[in-house]
């Protein structure tokens, strides 16, 4: 297993919300945010941080990037191989790509990166190399206004890589990318991880992270419900070993597996589908014996709602309602009302 680089222990950042009163018209109170979160980031690993809107993904990434202060807890790192040490300024080690950066204006791609490079003391040569890495070398003299959304995302990742970071944080990087650009982006993330960079990707679209992440973190209401290698978390939450079979024609699909192992099944005139959590070989052999016309047979990854249902123990209906209106829900008991 790769070595841990950066460790957050019981960290907290809660947003300050206005709480005016007669004697304190500008009073603030601690609102939602990240509470008591512990997380380790590993060299060369890609951690997928998933959670519904309002779960705290962006707050957590901003905190990890040093943009928001860590109000409680400790942050330690062993970037230089000399053991764990408290981190004074995360920004030296962490590259951060925010969710939406509107690169705009007549400034050229190279100038835009150089301006940020000035703040880090990055050399021009390094900027040229970064442009080549993200595939923008031929666009270096183009105005920002002339870039497509995919190119802007690549420019954002180049900006995040300016300081040769040990940890790269990507906040919803697939937003607005077409499938071709998304594929190119995925390849780039894999390249960086192969070089030893620890990558954290936040997303509420689990499908985008398929095949890219090797660890997963489930974030909900500012708390990390579970985190670890994908298979381990799946096993812990009972989401492993699920398969979906689809086919054409008619078949007695409920006979392919014991009733208790069938998670879902659907039939119409020409097609059918069956989702089971059972020994895949026995289901397949039962289907073959029944001479079913199978068109696909594949393991099934859980979607965001399934992950959250499994982690919280809530029903699909409850969790769907909560995800849809999470912004309006209060934080769970933790220190609500405490003045800052």
């Amino acid at each position: 297993m790769a070595e841990a680089l950066l460790s957050f222990r019981s960290v907290q950042h809660r947003h300050a919300l206005p709480a005016p009163s007669l004697f304190r018209p500008w009073g603030k109170r601690a609102g939602p945010g990240i509470v008591g979160l512990s997380l380790d980031l590993y060299e060369g690993s890609v951690l997928g941080l998933i959670g519904p809107n309002g779960a705290g993904k962006t707050t957590l990434l901003r905190m990890m990037a040093g943009v928001l202060p860590v109000q409680k807890g400790t942050v330690e790192a062993q970037f230089d191989g000399e053991g764990w040490r408290p981190v004074e300024d995360l920004r030296r080690w962490v590259g951060h790509m925010p969710e939406q950066v509107r690169w705009q204006g007549r400034t050229t791609v190279f100038e835009a990166l150089s301006q940020l490079g000035e703040m880090r003391g990055t050399s021009e040569k390094k900027i040229q190399r970064l442009l080549a890495l993200v595939g923008l070398r031929s666009r270096r003299d183009d105005a920002l206004d002339n870039l497509s959304q995919g190119m802007r995302q690549r420019l954002s990742i180049a900006a995040a890589l300016l300081g040769s970071p040990k940890v790269l944080l990507l906040d919803e990087p697939f937003n607005g990318l077409d499938p071709v650009a998304a594929e190119a982006f995925t390849a780039l993330v894999r390249t960086l991880a192969a070089k030893g960079v620890s990558v954290v990707i936040s997303s509420h679209m689990v499908a985008h992270l398929e095949g890219l992440i090797d660890r997963i973190g489930l974030l909900h209401r500012g708390q990390l419900l579970d985190e670890g290698p994908l298979e381990d978390v799946e096993r812990r939450l009972g989401l492993e070993g699920r398969y979906t079979m689809t086919g054409k024609g008619t078949a007695d699909i409920t006979s392919f597996a014991p009733a208790g192992d069938i998670l879902a099944h659907h039939e119409d005139e020409d097609n059918w589908s069956l989702t089971v959590k059972a020994n895949p070989e026995s289901v397949l052999s039962a289907a073959m014996k029944a001479k079913a016309n199978i068109t696909s047979w594949a393991p099934m990854r859980p979607n965001l709602v399934e992950w959250l249902c499994a982690a919280t123990g809530m029903s699909v209906d409850d969790i769907s309602l909560e995800v849809a209106s999470s912004a309006m829900l209060p934080m769970r008991t933790l220190e609500v009302g405490e003045d800052e």
Binding site: H15, R62, A65, G66, V67, L68, D89, R91, R92, V94, G95, H96, P98, E99, Q100, V101, R102, W103, Q104, T107, Q115, L116, E118, M119, R120, G121, S156, A159, A160, L162, G163
Partner: protein, 276 residues
């Protein structure tokens, strides 16, 4: 690269961006009209001001022409800096900048210097033009001390308004609020301050607007220390022996220091707590 060099580089980038922007091109005619234009008007040998007064020294002309600074240059400073932070915040660039390992205090300093320089470059060029106009029309140069005081105090008043606009920009979530705040402060000190002065005078039992009443003159002089424009005029008056409003020069310079230090500190404080 040292911290100082980094700050200066970032400031230079902001200055370059602003100086080459279309906004300055729009404001340049206003500055031309208000700075050398006023110097041209007030240096007319036949000019008679209200009250029958005729400016007869170069410094006096520059003092009257400073109205152009109060009306034109300060407004341009606000217009130049009102979106210094709010624009980046709206586009997401603020988060990218705050994620760079440059201390926020240094980023704030670069922001202030960059924006102040971008308005001071044209203002100083036009002040020089004003002095040349006065020399051409009156055949007289202001003294070195007078010129230095004029340049320094003009630089300071423009700097203060830049700070106010940037402060507004850090507080505002949208650009409309930022510009409303900046222009509001400018309007208050430029147009409404006389109203404040009158109200305080009335409440204190001083005859309002009586230019020959020493109590009115003293009160107005004191209250002017609470306004950036008033302090600007106090600083200029240190070079006009004929004007005495009961405020010694050290008080004017102390007020100038406070008008510089307090918003500077407030902006740095805001930047430290800024959330993208």
């Amino acid at each position: 690269m040292s911290d100082f060099n980094r700050i200066m580089k970032v400031a230079a980038r902001i200055r370059k961006e602003r100086l080459s922007g279309i906004r300055l091109k729009i404001m340049l005619p206003i500055l031309l009209l208000f700075l050398p234009g006023m110097a041209w008007g007030f240096s007319d040998p036949n000019i008679v001001l209200p009250g029958g007064h005729q400016p007869d020294t170069a410094m006096e002309v520059l003092f009257y022409a400073s109205l152009g600074v109060v009306f034109g240059a300060t407004m341009c400073a606000v217009l130049m800096a009102f979106d210094g932070v709010s624009k980046d915040r709206a586009s997401g660039m603020l988060e990218v900048r705050l994620a760079q390992p440059m201390p926020r205090k240094h980023q704030a300093t670069a922001l202030i210097l960059g924006h102040a320089q971008s308005i001071l470059v044209p203002v100083y060029a036009l002040l020089l033009a004003s002095v040349l106009v006065v020399r051409f029309r009156m055949g007289e140069w202001p003294s070195i001390t007078e010129m230095l005081t004029y340049a320094l105090s003009t630089g300071l008043v423009v700097f203060w308004y830049t700070l106010f606009a940037l402060l507004a920009s850090t507080s505002a979530r949208e650009q409309g609020t930022a510009i409303a705040f900046g222009i509001g402060v400018w309007f208050f000190f430029t147009f409404l301050w006389a109203l404040v002065t009158s109200m305080v005078a009335y409440a204190s039992g001083v005859a309002v607007g009586e230019a020959n009443d020493p109590a009115w003159v003293a009160l107005e002089g004191m209250l002017d220390l609470l306004s950036p424009n008033g302090v600007y005029h106090h600083l200029l008056e240190t070079q006009l022996p004929s004007v005495d409003r009961g405020v010694p020069a050290w008080q004017s310079w102390l007020a100038a220091l406070l008008w510089t230090a307090l918003p500077w500190w407030a902006l740095h404080h805001r930047m430290e707590r800024l959330v993208p």
